[in-house]
């Protein structure tokens, strides 16, 4: 199973600022996924990040708001841009290995 490290684990941010979340995997993986979990809600896929190509965004999510980098097979970043209180969520990085998804511990963002 893959071990995923995410940072920061939590942060409090001011409205209008941007924050970059880092995700490090202990093995090389082709596809990495970024999810959002709003308070009391299920997981919503933001985008799929493939190494060497543009990320693929789900309906309702755009690159300008959530730019993603994937410089190599073990690392990815998600930036939450121009934050508003509605962006307060847990952001989770995950990878798919042998069928199932493995998740990082998540980054809990609170936007004031």
């Amino acid at each position: 199973s893959a071990v995923i490290s995410q940072k920061p684990s939590r942060d409090i941010c001011q409205r209008g600022t941007s924050l970059t979340i880092q995700c490090q995997v202990d093995s090389q993986v082709t596809m990495m996924f970024w999810y959002r979990q709003q308070p009391g809600q299920s997981l919503t896929l933001i985008a799929t990040a493939n190494q060497g190509s543009e990320a693929t965004y789900e309906s309702g999510f755009v690159i300008d708001k959530f730019p993603i980098s994937r410089p190599n097979l073990t690392f990815s970043t998600l930036t939450v841009s121009n934050m508003s209180p509605e962006d307060s969520s847990i952001y989770l990085c995950s990878v798919r290995d042998t069928g199932e998804l493995f998740f990082g511990e998540g980054s809990r963002l609170t936007v004031l």
Partner: protein
Amino acid sequence: AQSVAQPEDQVNVAEGNPLTVKCTYSVSGNPYLFWYVQYPNRGLQFLLKYITGDNLVKGSYGFEAEFNKSQTSFHLKKPSALVSDSALYFCAVWDGNRDDKIIFGKGTRLHILP
């Protein structure tokens, strides 16, 4: 299109009693089915999965799940609940297509009463 339903927002069970958390799914083809658990302020932890084989799947922490193709269900079960099982449980489905995403249910909060 894939979908998964968890009909209960919350399930309350007395410690020591058996527990069931329900999940039904819809997918074209053969489903990959998963259960995940989320403890407070933590990420999701994988519990178990069904891909093929025996309909009864055993997973972590004494949990098991039964795949029922005719009822399109994948209910999570445990013979004897512990207070430490109190958490948020997510069922998920995937059609096995690399280009398709895994779909999560809305989650069921399990509350074990001491």
